[in-house]
């Protein structure tokens, strides 16, 4: 396994006290909440960024906020790193543990606590899955807007950690725009509440700071999120183009015209083939690139908006336009799109990039991306949220070939640097994690990193929380 990215060296004073720490944790929590047998730790050694793996010291699965607080207090007092984990679906290695760390899993805190339709809020425990919220409120005509592709499995706590986005963020925003409050366990075990059901919180926007902080500022155990009335109807439409460049230009054209659809998703030929194989959604296989454009509202409204979009697509020489005919068909179209990463596993191993670029640079970056992967002799599949420039090149490789795995990482780094140089950023919605940590210098100066790390230290002076992530190891001061 290539190991280009380093972890912090384990704290030897923690490793040497492993047995005592486990005994203490077993005293703090019920017996079935502490996992420490060697074999049982193995499944927790990684998340969805499987190139990197580290066995944790122990795993705890608390059921209440006070249990979380007790674990944090203990670990803080004893200098034991803590790595929070939701469903372990991070694509950037945000939940990968380290040898001296206790994995704090929130999977057992999975209850929906309150639905308040008068205020259109849901208060849920951190381990509730994203889709579970929308599924639960659907019968009453509401939904929770951010919809990362892993929404079936990923937890709201993890979404807050990574400020997750999704396909429909173009209209409704990402997690931070839909989060009203959290219950947060601080590193020393104090429990605070930020925000609530009111629309803006008092004081500094600590809620905004915590959202996207990758589990480094505290442990979110409960969240209050906004619910939105479900539109009368929604219609995904497929637009097939001969080339990726044409599709990319069409995206820029749609946005420039002042139309903001709910979602504009992009797939290139390899991605179309992969998704069609799993979902059988009826994606056209004879095109070079595909856009899924979703509009919503009443029938008349959707017709009107679509008419404009079709007109723009024509100008970009669209080959096929297919409106979906039924709710089942629409569900299949989205199922295919949302399963794209996993479905790629059918043909190869992959790493998934997450850079975001200004819309005007979309075509350029797409072209450069394939040049980069070509130069490494690797294949790439592109499937991403085009409307907001959030690109997800999937670099395909063979994980059992160490040399190729190394090349894939290098190509990935090149692509991310390209995104930054094009005026974008390293990560739009997957987080820095461990994957992009060492590229942070490409986007920020040392003074800027120092400022972020100083703010981090206001929450966690001793780097207990998820310590190997986000900030380059050198220069931590």
């Amino acid at each position: 396994m290539p190991e280009a990215i380093q972890f912090l060296p384990p704290r030897s004073e923690v490793l040497s006290r492993r047995a005592a720490i486990i005994a203490d944790l077993a005293g703090i929590l019920p017996a079935d909440c502490v996992i420490h047998e060697g074999r049982e730790l193995v499944p927790f050694e990684t998340d969805a960024f499987i190139s990197y793996r580290r066995l944790p010291l122990a795993v705890v699965l608390p059921r209440t906020t006070s249990q979380v607080a007790a674990v944090m207090k203990y670990c803080h007092e004893n200098g034991i790193p803590v790595v929070p984990r939701g469903a372990g679906t991070s694509l950037s290695g945000g939940a990968i543990p380290q040898e001296d760390a206790v994995v704090l899993g929130l999977s057992r805190m999975a209850r929906i606590l309150e639905l308040d339709y008068a205020n259109r809020t849901a208060t849920v425990q951190a381990g509730v899955t994203n889709l579970n919220i929308s599924d639960t409120v659907a019968v009453d005509g509401f939904f929770y807007a951010p919809d990362p592709s892993s929404q079936l499995a990923c937890t709201i706590g993890g979404n807050i950690g990574m400020n997750s986005g999704g396909a429909h963020c173009l209209k409704y925003g990402v997690t931070t725009n839909n989060l009203l409050g959290v219950k947060l366990v601080l590193v020393d075990g104090q429990v605070i509440e930020l925000g609530g059901k009111h629309l803006d919180a008092a004081g500094y926007d600590l809620l905004g700071l915590v959202c996207g902080s990758e589990g480094q500022l505290g442990i979110v155990t409960e969240a209050t999120v906004r619910l939105i009335a479900r539109p009368e109807g929604a219609r995904p439409v497929l637009f097939g183009f001969a080339t990726s460049e044409q599709a990319g230009a069409c995206v820029a054209g749609i946005i420039a015209s002042g139309i903001i659809p709910v979602a504009i998703e992009f797939m290139d030929k390899p991605a179309i083939e992969i998704c069609e194989a799993f979902a059988k959604a009826g994606y056209p296989l004879d095109v070079g690139a595909l856009l899924i454009v979703e509009v919503e509202g009443s029938e008349a409204e959707m017709d009107a908006v679509l008419e404009n979009i079709v007109e723009i697509a024509r100008r970009h020489e669209v080959m096929t336009v297919r409106e979906c005919q039924s709710a089942t068909e629409a569900a299949l179209i989205w199922k295919g799109r949302k399963s794209a990463f996993g479905a790629t596993g059918r043909i190869a191993d992959y790493i998934c990039m997450d850079g975001t670029v200004p819309l005007g640079k979309l075509s350029y970056v797409l072209k450069k991306t394939s040049e980069i992967t070509d130069s490494f002799g690797l294949r790439v599949a592109n499937v991403f949220h085009a409307g907001d420039g959030n690109m997800h090149p999937l670099i395909l490789f063979n994980a059992n070939d160490p040399e190729e795995a190394m090349k894939a990482e290098e190509a990935g780094n090149e692509i991310l640097k390209l995104c930054v140089d094009a005026g974008g950023c390293l990560t739009g919605e997957h987080g820095v994690g461990i994957e992009k940590r060492d590229l942070m210098r490409h986007q920020y100066t040392q003074a800027e990193l120092n400022q972020q790390m100083a703010v981090r230290a206001a929450f966690d002076e001793d780097w207990i929380l998820n310590p190997s992530k986000v900030f380059p190891l050198e220069g931590r001061g």
Binding site: N119, N163, L194, A256, Q443
Partner: protein, 407 residues
């Protein structure tokens, strides 16, 4: 007043102030009344970004604008209007309500909009100012120039200092440049007016409207006491009560028409309904945004109260039993503009807010005497206050920015 001419200049001034232990009070146009708070220390010098002005980058096709922080809001709005775009979060203009303190000849700056996180009636669908803010440049308390965020909508690269600085009222850093998302101006706006609802019923009506798939982009309730202050008293008359509950619909013309019919039909269950066209609607919502009802030239204490939307009317009803107040509601009842007829009653108000599920109150307008006694910003629970103080110390270690202002 310090008025640096460049970002580098600002960094230099701030570095020196930190070295000299001098305190700075950051303002833009100083039009929002909050820069003038009494400081704990006497040695405070105002510093304004008004000379850091001008457009840096604006590509209408990308719907992103970058401007220097001291650029007048009017200039930004003009540039946007020329491209039929807008700041969707509708920043209010405080000058009207500030009476003797609101100097109409001074322009509010775009930096001030974000530093105070000023957000209008479209809060539900467009978010607050902080939700549109994509990137910033600022000078921290060490005099270092820091960039945060960027110019793309999705960005989780590192800690979100953009959000932290937004709404920090100039106590964490000196904004020099802001990059924000803009949106097309909706071609059509209509307003559904429901007459004669008491506050509690209006709260129910607004909640019902917001739960419909018609995308209401503004929900306000104007009790009888304030109604005549809007549209020059020209809100259509209906027998049976002076209250007006107003719901805004925006979008493509055909679509708004369909939604307006649907919404009006459903709202008829609550009371008599009328519709306002595009011109009246635009004026009305601007007046709601700018709290026109209380642009009364007085110094009566004015609170901006943020609570759960369903709690707004209950809070006001409970307060009325103990104090003389006048109020109207935006954000479906979640934003209460409350004018106290005598004392500021900060303690009472804040106790009641806690009793009704939490939220916070900001004293937007008050005489110097009242200000000295009532904390302008909501006092925080100890643990949060301590955390906020630590955060501030990390950006402004010498505590030079607006000491005692927030947290």
């Amino acid at each position: 007043m310090l008025i640096p001419n460049s970002e580098a200049d600002a960094a230099y001034v701030i570095r020196n102030a930190a070295a000299d232990g001098k305190h700075l009070s950051i303002c833009g146009g100083n039009t929002r009344g909050l820069a003038r708070l009494p400081a704990r220390s006497g040695n405070v010098e105002p510093i304004s970004a008004r000379s850091l002005s001008g457009m840096v980058d604006y590509d209408p096709a990308e719907m992103v604008m970058t401007v220097k922080a001291g650029t007048p809001v009017a200039q930004v709005e003009q540039a946007l209007a020329a491209n039929r775009q807008m700041m969707a979060f509708e920043p209010m203009d405080h000058r009207g309500i500030l009476g003797p303190h609101g100097n109409p000849s001074v322009e509010p700056t775009i930096g001030g909009v974000f530093a105070a996180n000023v957000s209008g009636p479209r809060r539900f669908v467009a978010g607050a100012a902080r939700d549109s803010l994509l990137g910033i440049r600022f000078v921290n308390g060490r005099g270092e120039i820091i960039r945060a965020g960027g110019r793309v909508m999705k960005n989780v690269t590192g800690l979100d200092l953009v959000k932290l600085l937004a709404g920090s009222q100039g106590t964490l850093g000196f904004l020099t440049e802001v990059t924000f998302r803009v949106l097309p101006v909706p071609p059509m706006t209509q307003t559904i007016v429901i007459f004669g609802l008491d506050d509690q019923t209006a709260a129910k009506a607004m909640a019902a409207a917001m739960a419909l798939p018609v995308e209401v982009s503004g929900a306000a309730h104007l009790p009888a006491s304030v109604r005549s202050r809007f549209l020059g008293g020209a809100l259509p008359e209906e027998p049976g009560g002076g209250e007006a509950t107003v719901l805004r619909l925006e979008g493509l013309t055909a679509s708004v028409e369909v939604r307006a019919q649907k919404l009006a039909a459903i709202m008829e269950a609550f009371g008599p309904v009328a519709r306002l066209g595009v011109d009246e609607s635009r004026i009305l919502w601007r007046e709601i945004r700018d709290v026109h009802a209380y642009a009364d030239g007085s110094e009566k204490p004015l609170w901006r109260v943020s609570v759960a939307p369903s709690a707004g009317a209950q809070l006001v009803a409970a307060l009325r039993l103990e104090a003389g107040i006048d109020a109207f509601y935006d954000w479906q009842g979640g934003l209460v503009w409350m004018r106290m007829e005598a004392e500021a009653e900060g303690d009472l108000l804040r106790r009641m807010i806690r009793a009704f599920g939490g939220g916070h109150a900001t004293l937007i307008r008050a005489s110097e005497v009242v200000r000295a006694e009532a904390p302008t910003f909501e006092p925080q629970p100890d643990a949060v206050a301590a955390l906020s103080a630590r955060v501030k110390a990390k950006l402004d270690p010498a505590g030079i920015f607006g000491p005692g202002k927030m947290g």
